[in-house]
C-alpha cells in the first residue's frame, strides 16, 4: 500500500481492466500518444494497441455514439470527455439513447459503457471549463452516476463502473487529480451505491462528494474546536444512492448539510435533502442546509470565482447556524 495521486489511480484502473478484459476499449480526444489532456491514458496505446485505444476527432457526439453502438454489440467502452461541459455536445447519445436503450428494448439490449468526465474549476477556467454538471445526469433514469473523492475510491469505483452492465457517468474533479492517498495493491471493484462515513460525529452529518468531502473534513476540524461534532459522509455514488447509509448517519446526528461544488439550485444536494425530508423526517432535528456554488456562471476573475464557489468558511458558518438553530449548547 502506497500513496498515489488520484490521476494515477484512474490510470491504474483503466490499465488493470484493459488487461483483464479485451473488450474494454478507450475512446477520446488526444487519448492516444499524448495520453489525453491530463495524461490519464499515457502509455495505454503503446501497451494495448490501436484496436483498444481510439484517439478520436473532436466530435463528442460521434465519440459517445461510437461507444454506445459498440457497447450494444459487446464492447466495454470507456469514453473520456475532456471537460463535463463538453458533454453538452453529446447529450442526445447519452440522454435519449444510452440511458434508455435497456428499458425501451424491454431488457433486450444494454449499454455497458463508462463516460469519464472531468469537472469543477481549476482556477479561473471560466464559464465553459469549470462546471460541475453531475446533477444533469442524475435526473435521467437509466444512467448511473459516480463521484469519488479519493484515489482508492476512484480506482475501485472506476473498476466497478467498467464492469457494470449499465451506462455509468464517472466524474473526476480536476482539483483532486494531484491529491494523494493510499491505494491497496489489489483493489477490488467497489459496490456502486455505497456511501461511506469518513469522519464520525454526533451533531450533524455533512453529506458531500468529490472535493466537497475534503472541504467538509477541514470544516469538521474547525467545528471540533467550537465543540461541534460533525460527521462527514462521502456520498460517492449519486445514482444509485445509499439511502441506508444516509439514514444510519442521521440516526447518529439528526442534522443534515449537503456540500458540493456544483451550483446549489437543483444540484444533487437538493435530491439528498428531499430524500431526507421525505423518508427520514423523523430523524431530523432541524431543516436541511445546502452548501454549493451560488447560481451564477463561473466568472474568470479569481476573487469573483471564490465568491461564487463553496468554501470551508461557508461550510463552517452553515454548520454553526444549523446546529445553533436547534439550540445546541457548545
Amino acid at each position: 500500500m502506497k500513496p498515489i495521486r488520484f490521476a494515477q489511480a484512474i490510470t491504474q484502473a483503466l490499465d488493470e481492466e484493459m488487461a483483464r478484459d479485451e473488450q474494454v476499449i478507450l475512446l477520446g480526444e488526444d487519448i492516444g500518444k499524448p495520453g489525453g489532456s491530463f495524461g490519464i491514458t499515457k502509455g495505454l496505446l503503446d501497451k494495448y494497441g490501436e484496436s483498444r485505444v481510439y484517439d478520436t476527432p473532436i466530435s463528442e457526439e460521434a465519440i459517445v455514439g461510437a461507444a454506445l453502438g459498440a457497447s450494444m454489440m459487446g464492447a466495454r467502452p470507456v469514453v473520456e470527455i475532456m471537460f463535463n461541459d463538453f458533454a453538452a455536445l453529446a447529450m442526445d447519445q447519452i440522454v435519449n439513447q444510452a440511458a434508455k436503450i435497456h428499458y425501451m428494448s424491454g431488457g433486450r439490449l444494454s449499454a455497458p459503457l463508462v463516460i469519464r468526465m472531468l469537472c469543477g474549476t481549476n482556477g479561473s477556467t471560466a464559464g465553459q471549463h469549470s462546471q460541475s454538471l453531475e446533477a444533469w445526469f442524475t435526473h435521467v433514469p437509466g444512467l448511473k452516476v459516480v463521484a469519488p473523492s479519493t484515489p482508492a475510491d476512484a480506482k475501485a469505483f472506476l473498476k466497478a463502473a467498467i464492469r457494470d452492465p449499465d451506462p455509468v457517468m464517472f466524474f473526476e474533479q480536476r482539483m483532486l487529480y494531484n491529491t494523494k492517498g493510499e491505494v491497496p495493491d489489489e483493489v477490488e471493484p467497489a459496490r456502486l451505491a455505497e456511501g461511506k462515513v469518513v469522519r464520525e460525529g454526533s451533531d450533524l452529518t455533512i453529506a458531500a462528494y468529490m472535493k466537497g468531502v475534503h472541504q467538509a473534513l477541514e470544516a469538521a476540524e474547525i467545528l471540533e474546536r467550537d465543540g461541534i461534532s460533525a460527521e462527514v459522509w462521502d456520498v460517492r455514488s449519486l445514482v444509485p444512492f445509499d439511502r441506508d447509509g444516509l439514514r444510519a448517519s442521521l440516526e447518529r446526528t439528526g442534522r443534515l448539510m449537503t456540500v458540493h461544488e456544483a451550483v446549489v439550485r437543483s444540484g444533487f444536494g437538493a435530491e439528498i435533502a428531499a430524500i431526507a425530508a421525505e423518508e427520514m423526517f423523523d430523524l431530523l432535528k432541524a431543516p436541511v442546509r445546502r452548501v454549493g456554488a451560488h447560481p451564477t456562471p463561473h466568472p474568470y476573475a479569481p476573487q469573483l470565482e471564490s465568491t461564487m464557489l463553496p468554501s470551508v468558511e461557508r461550510i463552517v458558518e452553515t454548520a454553526r447556524e444549523l446546529v445553533g438553530a436547534t439550540e445546541k449548547v457548545a
Binding site: 466530435s59 482556477g123 471560466a126 451564477t296 466568472p299 474568470y300
Partner: protein, 334 residues
C-alpha cells in the same frame, strides 16, 4: 504619400496590415511573459504564426460585419481593431477589461466592433455565426457574419449542420477555417481523411476556397471575394487558410508531438518575416518605416500593459450581476 499597388491597396494600407500582424504577434508574446510573471490566471492559446489569416480576413470586412471567434481568438479581435489595453485588462482580471473580468481569454467580446465573442467550445461559434448571418440578411444592409474556426472544429457535427443551413438559406456567412495542422496534440491527418477542409464545401453546394494562410494579401483577396458573394445574396463561402501555430496548443504545451523540422519549415514562411521583407522589396516601403512601426507597436503595448496593471479588481458583489438581464430593485434574479 500613398502609392496604388496590388490592385487596390496603397502603401499605407499595406503597412497597416503589417502593423496589425505585428501588434498581434507582440501582444501574444508579451501575454505569455505576463502569464509567467503571474499576472494572468487561466488559459492562454496563443495564435503566434497565424496572424496573416486573422488580419487578411478582417481587412476584407466592413464596419457592419460581425465576427465569431475561437479559443485562439486574440488575433481575430486585434485584427478587428480591438484595444490591446482593454484586452490585457481582461486577461489581468480587471473591471476595465472587455468583459469586466468575467470572461478572460476564452470569452472576450467587443460588441462595438461586431466581435461577438471568442469561444471555449470547439465549434461553438459556428452555429452562432449562422444566426448572426440570418439577422444580417433580415436587416438587409449587406452585412455579413464571419466564423473563424480551426481544422479540428470542422469535425464537429455542428459545422456540417450550419454549412447546410446557411447554404440552403443563402445566408451571408463566411466560414474561415484556420487549418494549422493540429487540434491540440493530434495532427489533422489523424483526425480527418479529408486533407483540405475546403473540399467539404462541395457537400453543401457552396464554394470552397484555399488561401495561403501565411500570406495576408492572399487571405484578404479570397475573403473579399467571399464577402462580395455574400453581400450579393449568393450565400456563404468556406475559405480555408493553410497556416501553422508556432507555439504550443496552450501556454505550457511543449509540442512533443511535432515531427522534427516541421516548425523550422514554417518559420521560413513566418508572415512577420516574409511580409515586411515584401513590403520593402516589392512595394518599396522604406526600411525606416518598418522600424518605426515596430517602435510604435512596442509603445502601444507598453501602454496597454500599464493600463491593465493599473486596473481595478471587481467588487465581489459583481459575481451576482449579469446572470440575467433583469433584476428586481437592483438585486439579480435568482
Amino acid at each position: 504619400m500613398t502609392t496604388a499597388v496590388d490592385g487596390r491597396l496603397d502603401q499605407e494600407t499595406l503597412v497597416g496590415l503589417f502593423e496589425r500582424m505585428l501588434l498581434i504577434r507582440r501582444f501574444e508574446e508579451r501575454a505569455s511573459e505576463y502569464r509567467l510573471a503571474g499576472h494572468i490566471p487561466g488559459f492562454l492559446h496563443p495564435c503566434i504564426g497565424q496572424e496573416a489569416a486573422a488580419v487578411g480576413t478582417c481587412a476584407a470586412l466592413g464596419p457592419d460585419d460581425v465576427i465569431l471567434s475561437t479559443h485562439r481568438g486574440h488575433g481575430h479581435m486585434l485584427a478587428r481593431g480591438a484595444d490591446p489595453g482593454r484586452m490585457y485588462a481582461e486577461l489581468y482580471a480587471r473591471v476595465e477589461g472587455y468583459n469586466r473580468s468575467k470572461g478572460g481569454s476564452l470569452h472576450m467580446i467587443d460588441t462595438d466592433l461586431g466581435f461577438l465573442g471568442a469561444n471555449g467550445i470547439v465549434g461553438g461559434g459556428i452555429p452562432i455565426a449562422g444566426g448572426a448571418a440570418l439577422q444580417q440578411k433580415r436587416r438587409g444592409q449587406g452585412g455579413v457574419a464571419v466564423s473563424f474556426f480551426g481544422d479540428g472544429a470542422a469535425n464537429q457535427g455542428a459545422f456540417h449542420e450550419v454549412l447546410n443551413l446557411c447554404s440552403l438559406w443563402k445566408l451571408p456567412a463566411i466560414f474561415v477555417c484556420e487549418n494549422n495542422l493540429y487540434g491540440e496534440f493530434t495532427a489533422q491527418s489523424e483526425q480527418s481523411p479529408v486533407a483540405d477542409v475546403a473540399d467539404r464545401a462541395a457537400a453543401y453546394a457552396m464554394p470552397g476556397v484555399i488561401a495561403d494562410g501565411n500570406d495576408v494579401l492572399d487571405v484578404r483577396e479570397k475573403v473579399a471575394q467571399a464577402v462580395a458573394r455574400a453581400r450579393a445574396g449568393e450565400g456563404p463561402t468556406l475559405v480555408e487558410c493553410k497556416t501553422y501555430r508556432h507555439r504550443g496548443h496552450y501556454e505550457g504545451d511543449m509540442c512533443a508531438y511535432r515531427p522534427e523540422g516541421e516548425l523550422e519549415q514554417w518559420l521560413e514562411r513566418d508572415p512577420l518575416v516574409t511580409f515586411p521583407a515584401r513590403l520593402v522589396s516589392e512595394f518599396g516601403v522604406p526600411e525606416e518605416e518598418i522600424e518605426a512601426v515596430r517602435a510604435q507597436v512596442e509603445q502601444r503595448l507598453d501602454e496597454a500593459a500599464e493600463f491593465a496593471a493599473a486596473g481595478t479588481f471587481a467588487d465581489p458583489a459583481e459575481t451576482f450581476e449579469h446572470v440575467y438581464v433583469d433584476s428586481i430593485e437592483g438585486k439579480a434574479l435568482r
